[in-house]
Amino acid sequence: MLEAVDILLVDDKPENLAALESILDGPEYRLTKARSAQEALLALISTDFALIVLDIRMPDTSGLELAQIIKGRKRTKDIPIIFLTAHYAEDEQVLSGYSAGAVDYLTKPINPGILKSKVEVFAELFRKTKALNEANRNLNRRNEELQAANQELEAFSYTVSHDLRAPLRHVNGYVEMLREHAEPTLDPTSRRYLDLIQQSAAKLGDLIDHFLGFAHMGRTALSIAPVNMNDIVRQAIDALQPETAGRDIQWSMAELPQVQADPTMIRQVWTNLLSNAVKYTRDRAPAHIEIGVERPKSREYLFYVRDNGVGFDMRYAGRLFGIFQRLHPDTQFAGTGIGLANVRRIIKRHGGRTYAEGTVNAGAKISFTLPIPSDLRN
């Protein structure tokens, strides 16, 4: 059942109004009749009409003058009008002056079939516009709610992280001072306890710092620039020197294309992926770490880091990119479980996707895509 829409019929002759009424009679329309411009304007104040059917020739204010008033008011200017004219040749000039679409005309005597179908079209347009506006309003409202919730969450996590740092700094500080103060009198067990407190506190500190970085990254605006991936990967590898020193690692790196991205964030992506590869190939000699690129579609690059490390069970691939998710016990491979979550977040913000493939004890391949701007797709 269609929702009934309001239609305003304006004609100074009651018999004409009655004729219109009988043509348009039906549950899908609520008809309001006006016998003068005055009555019509009054009705327009209280009701949201889908359409006005208007006789051009009326004694007091002419139909055309009334139309001008309606089109001149912000509230009513978008209401479509169907003019009824008995003298089309005389009125043509004026009618063509109205903007197309919102105005139509019919010559008298009225052909009921044509009037019906024209009215139907306008009524349908009104219903659809109304539904669309409603949907838009809902979307806007939800969007605002989402944004507010997101901002609140970011602010909350940031504050919490900040507030956690102070007491942690104090724990660390006092342990250090206790160590200096009591060192000569401490037996090995007490020293071990102090070591453990310090290790745990350090671990908590890393967690908080990484979490802060994660929250911060979510709020920082992207600053897109051309990025030379070759340079950035080499720098990231150099920065891993402390972890790679003394290891037997065979690097292989393809020639990488330039991309459009936020350089700082993309550097972080490579640093995370490469340090993971270095970490999880710890027991391999030699370790193989391969950096490559594919172009599965004309509009994106797929970059990857492949290693021959401990790998992972594909059943858990979906958890790999979740925050604080870890597939290896901390005692085996230290970490906070934020690195890959950050990678995914950064890549998502760039309009790309992340993938993980792996086999237990046979290595992993972590990939990410980056879209290629349309003007650089050759």
Partner: protein, 147 residues
């Protein structure tokens, strides 16, 4: 031998007693010639500088460095900084902000208000102590204080 009163002074403005103790510990362990005066908030810092209220009888020279915590109740670090830098007599005194915030807006605000440095309090004790010692070493020993 220098007399206690002749030593260069550092004014530490810190409302968190633990942070204050850790900072003092780091400065003491450093062995710099500096004497550290601790006040607990911005208002007390201004009283100290203007020699008013509890500091009417302060006779020592002004500090060569002010270490100012950003996050304090009552008169906050930023407001305190602003007032110090707005006064002709004190605007040349080096002020280093200490903060647990790495927020760009905080850092920018402090520099705009005339801070001479901004140090994020590290979580790790050794890094914290190192940061404080480096600070003191530069501003007390290396740097020529404003006359």
């Amino acid at each position: 031998m220098m007399q206690q009163n002749d030593r260069k002074r550092v004014l530490l403005v810190e409302n968190d007693p633990h942070d204050a103790e850790l900072t003092l510990g780091a400065l003491r362990a450093d062995g710099t010639a500096a004497q550290v005066d601790l006040v607990n908030d911005g208002e007390e810092a201004l009283d100290y500088l203007y020699r008013r209220n509890g500091y009417k009888s302060r006779v020592e020279a002004n500090p060569v460095l002010i270490i100012l915590d950003l996050n304090m109740p009552k008169l906050g670090g930023a407001e305190t900084l602003q007032q110090i830098k707005a006064d002709e007599r004190f605007k040349c005194l080096p002020v280093i902000m200490l903060s647990s915030s790495r927020e760009t807006q905080d850092v920018r605000m402090c520099y705009r208000l005339g801070a001479n440095g901004y140090v994020v309090k590290p979580v790790h004790a050794k890094q914290f102590a190192k940061a404080i010692r480096e600070l003191a070493s530069f501003w007390v020993s290396t740097n020529e204080a404003p006359p």
